[in-house]
């Protein structure tokens, strides 16, 4: 993280309410120097960057997750207090810039008061003043500065106004002294003072200085945050007990500590903040109200929502296709070039089939990731995303999911990788985890070629149900419905078991609509894309190479020599196109023979006892191993296994014929419709995609959850395929 790079430079924290415009101010202050990391221990992003001060100095600016209050219930909310007050593992910043949304001044002042009470050095960035002004209202920022006792700089993050003044104020404030103690803005009752004093004495020594304003702020934070069912981290039991005692004491005296504290703060805000607002007419709000009347309309709004979601889906499913095709063609070309330049041999195969194919396999995800984040960025920036959560809350809540989980779930039909990355639009870890654990069930586009091959090879294309519904289409639709149903059921089960948590009230803000800033959307697309390349790309590349090695080694000299001889015979006996045909047949047969000799094939044999009850033989086992690179690789792996070459696709009749004609030694067909069904169910449920696992690891930073995802999906796949195959046999199908 850049903290080390910038050692010695002052650290400036950027805090504020959600939607206060922190991001745009952060971007304006730090320009292109940003880095994205994680707050340790929690998957909450920490953006940091360098601010060049007007006087030539530099400081590190980092953001605090947006919050309405420092009080916390969860580990994620706890970060704000920890990072501002410098509780372990964080260091306190030298200065806190509080970004205030001027259009929501009074609510924003609550967090501001808390930060001021802690005795921090503060500069206020009064954001969106332009919007207040356009509504005909005015905020007396000079009086606000007097009331708060800290510099207040009017800014517009979107237009970039007031940013240099903000930088100057930061510089001046950093040069000045830290306030000895924060002025007392509200007077606590004697009873409350006693509570504060008692808790302050019980604060752990690891929390550092507990004198003065800081100790008082920490005591108040503890009194408001600590609760028997909170999910806070690193709260000593002694402190928990102490807070519990004081609260019980207060309750028995008919007092409520949090109400006293919060009421006192709002009394101050109403008395000192409210008069600073000249009558707000809120032009922007009325435009927003008019838009909301349409966009949140039970019928029209819902129809528009479906239209937008359809657009997102369409873009991932088909618009990304030409770009994906282009990338594949490009890497194919590079591979051919490399094959033409490098001498024949194992190194050439490694470069073309392992390395170049591996890198291509990573880059190929970029179009969908970038497109999805383009849409998410536009929806977030315009304010529509908050409405999506609003519209979908009832449906998604019934399934144990967050309203915002709708976008990742839908994206999962195209590809799980961008969908998993999109889970971070949800604030709570629980919501992100459940969504991540079920998104890979959604029927992604990589399953399509597999379904197409199996359905075309094993089911009569002319068969119909009820005389007019064609069986192949019915099967395809059934697979989509099946995967969706499984994902939703899994979400329900996970939400009630592993990720059981108290249902947290949904408090959403519906921010006013605004025109999205293309610059910030593009910046986010870039940061997501590069994050994927850096953190998931490596894993995917290594796995691709490992799989290639598994399916290529050891190379049998015997088989090579054998095919060399057969080639020589062919060259002697045949000429022209007949010779070419024979040579390519031989090449396909040779790679098939080599594959059957490889470690991958041995692994296929080794897992045969496990997959036999599902109706599969070892060759399908090899296909399943190959599918781990990506599900559609199953098709080309089967092409190699059956000696028809690796460039087959799901439409090629040679592979279909091979599958249909494949027999066990006793003459039974290997691929029956029942085996096909079992295989499709397996592909629907099993987590056979290492890229998905890499993305989940990247988001959770936990091998435990990554392994869990693989194990539970694949376990479920085995059980379901077993039930289909054995159940089907019992019912007399084959």
């Amino acid at each position: 993280m850049s903290a080390t790079v910038l050692a010695g430079h002052p650290r400036v924290a950027l805090a504020g309410n959600p939607n206060a415009g922190k991001t745009s101010i952060f971007n304006r202050l730090t320009g292109s120097s940003q880095k994205v990391g994680n707050y340790p221990g929690v998957t909450v992003e920490r953006h940091s960057g360098t601010l060049k001060l007007p006087g030539g100095g530099r400081c590190e600016v980092f953001d605090i997750p947006g919050t309405y209050s420092l009080s916390a219930r969860s580990a994620e909310e706890q970060i704000a207090c920890q990072a501002i007050l410098g509780l372990p593992p964080y260091e306190a910043p030298e200065l806190v810039v509080v970004v205030i949304d001027a259009t929501q001044l009074l609510r924003n002042l609550y967090l501001t008061l808390q930060i001021l009470e802690a005795g921090a050095r503060v500069v206020i960035a009064l954001n969106m003043v332009d919007l207040v002004a356009s509504g005909g209202a005015r905020i007396d920022h000079e009086r606000l500065a007097q009331e708060l006792g800290v510099p207040v700089v009017p800014v517009s993050g979107l237009r970039g106004e007031g940013i240099s003044e903000l930088a100057s104020a930061i510089e001046a404030s950093l040069a000045g002294a830290v306030p000895a103690s924060a002025p007392v803005r509200w007077v606590a009752t004697d009873e409350l003072e006693a509570d504060i004093a008692a808790v302050r004495d019980g604060l752990p020594t690891s929390w550092g200085d507990t004198d003065g304003s800081r100790g008082r702020a920490l005591a108040l934070w503890s009194l408001l945050s600590i609760d028997p069912d909170d999910e806070l981290l690193a709260i000593p039991d002694a402190l928990r007990e102490l807070v519990g005692e004081r609260r019980d004491l207060a309750t028995s005296a008919g007092r409520e500590i949090e109400a006293e504290v919060i009421q006192a703060r709002y009394d101050w805000i109403d008395a000192h903040g409210a008069p600073l607002l000249s009558l707000p007419t809120e032009a922007r709000r009325t435009l927003t109200d008019r838009l909301d009347a349409v966009l949140l309309h039970p019928l029209v709004g819902f129809a528009l929502f479906l239209f937008v979601m359809g657009l997102v889906f369409q873009s991932l499913f088909s618009w990304a296709d030409p770009m994906i095709g282009g990338i594949e063609a490009l890497f194919g070309l590079v591979g051919e070039q490399a094959a033409a330049t490098l001498p024949e041999g194992i190194f050439r195969d490694f470069v073309t089939e392992g390395l170049i194919a591996g890198v291509g396999g990573v880059v190929v995800f970029l179009p969908q990731i970038l497109l999805l984040f383009l849409f998410i960025g536009l929806m977030e920036d315009s304010g529509y995303m908050a409405r999506v959560a609003f519209l979908m809350d009832r449906v998604m809540r019934a399934l144990g999911l967050h309203g915002r989980a709708f976008v990742p779930m839908l994206s999962g039909y195209a590809c799980a990788i961008p969908a998993i990355m999109a889970t971070r639009t949800m604030e709570r870890r629980r919501d992100r985890m459940i969504t991540m654990m079920v998104v890979p069930f959604m029927s992604c586009s990589a399953r399509l070629p597999v379904y197409t091959l199996i359905i075309a090879a094993l089911f009569d294309p002319n068969a119909t149900v009820l005389g007019f519904v064609p069986v192949p289409s019915l099967l395809m639709i059934a697979m989509y419905l099946f995967s969706t149903a499984v994902a939703l059921i899994a979400a329900g089960v996970l939400g009630r078991t592993l990720f059981k948590g108290p249902s947290v009230p949904l408090i959403l803000e519906l921010p006013p609509y605004r025109v999205p800033q293309l610059g910030s959307v593009i910046r986010m697309m870039w940061s997501r894309g590069s994050l994927f390349l850096r953190e998931a790309g490596g894993v995917i590349l290594v796995c691709t190479i490992a799989l290639w090695m598994l399916l290529s080694f050891p190379n049998s000299e015997q088989i090579s020599a054998d095919f060399e001889a057969r080639r020589a015979t062919a060259e002697a006996e045949l000429t022209g196109s007949e010779l070419d045909a024979q040579l390519s047949t031989l090449a396909a047969a040779e790679s098939g023979a080599q594959l059957q000799h490889s470690y991958g094939a041995r692994l296929g044999h080794a897992i045969e006892p496990v997959i036999e009850p599902l109706g599969y033989d070892w060759k399908m086992g090899v296909g399943l191993i190959g599918a781990f690179a990506a599900r559609e690789v199953f098709v080309s792996t089967m092409g190699v296994v059956y000696g028809v070459g690796g460039d087959v696709d799901e439409e090629s009749s040679s592979l279909r014929d091979k599958l249909r004609d494949e027999r066990y030694p006793d003459g039974r067909r290997v691929y029956t419709p029942l085996v096909g069904l079992s295989l499709m169910v397996f592909f629907a449920l099993a987590c056979q995609c290492m890229s998905t696992l890499a993305a989940v690891y990247r988001e959770t930073k936990s091998w435990g959850w990554t392994v869990f995802l693989f194990a539970y999906m694949t376990g479920l796949a085995w059980i379901a395929s077993f039930a289909v195959y054995q159940g089907g046999r019992m019912l007399g199908f084959e």
Partner: protein, 78 residues
């Protein structure tokens, strides 16, 4: 006295009491929903089962089920 969830759209009311779990009460109070606070129900969104409120010039929305825990003095919707 009536529940916040029963207010009609556009109605104004004065908050009496926030019920429910401690963390829920704390959260609502910190957003400015304190006894005596006047508020306005901006809109009811039936698709999402949510309510949008205006409190101290700020907008926020709550689930109807959560809003049932908030008691107000105001006009009940018919």
């Amino acid at each position: 006295m009536t529940r916040l969830s029963d207010l009609s759209a556009g109605a104004t009311a004065s908050l009496v009491e926030v019920g429910g779990e401690r963390s829920f009460r704390r959260r609502l109070m910190e957003l400015g929903l304190l006894p005596g606070t006047s508020l306005r129900l901006v809109r009811r969104v039936d698709v999402g089962d949510l309510l949008e409120l205006e409190v101290r010039g700020c907008h926020l929305s709550l689930r109807r089920s959560d809003a049932r825990l908030v008691l107000v003095d105001g006009e009940r919707s018919s």
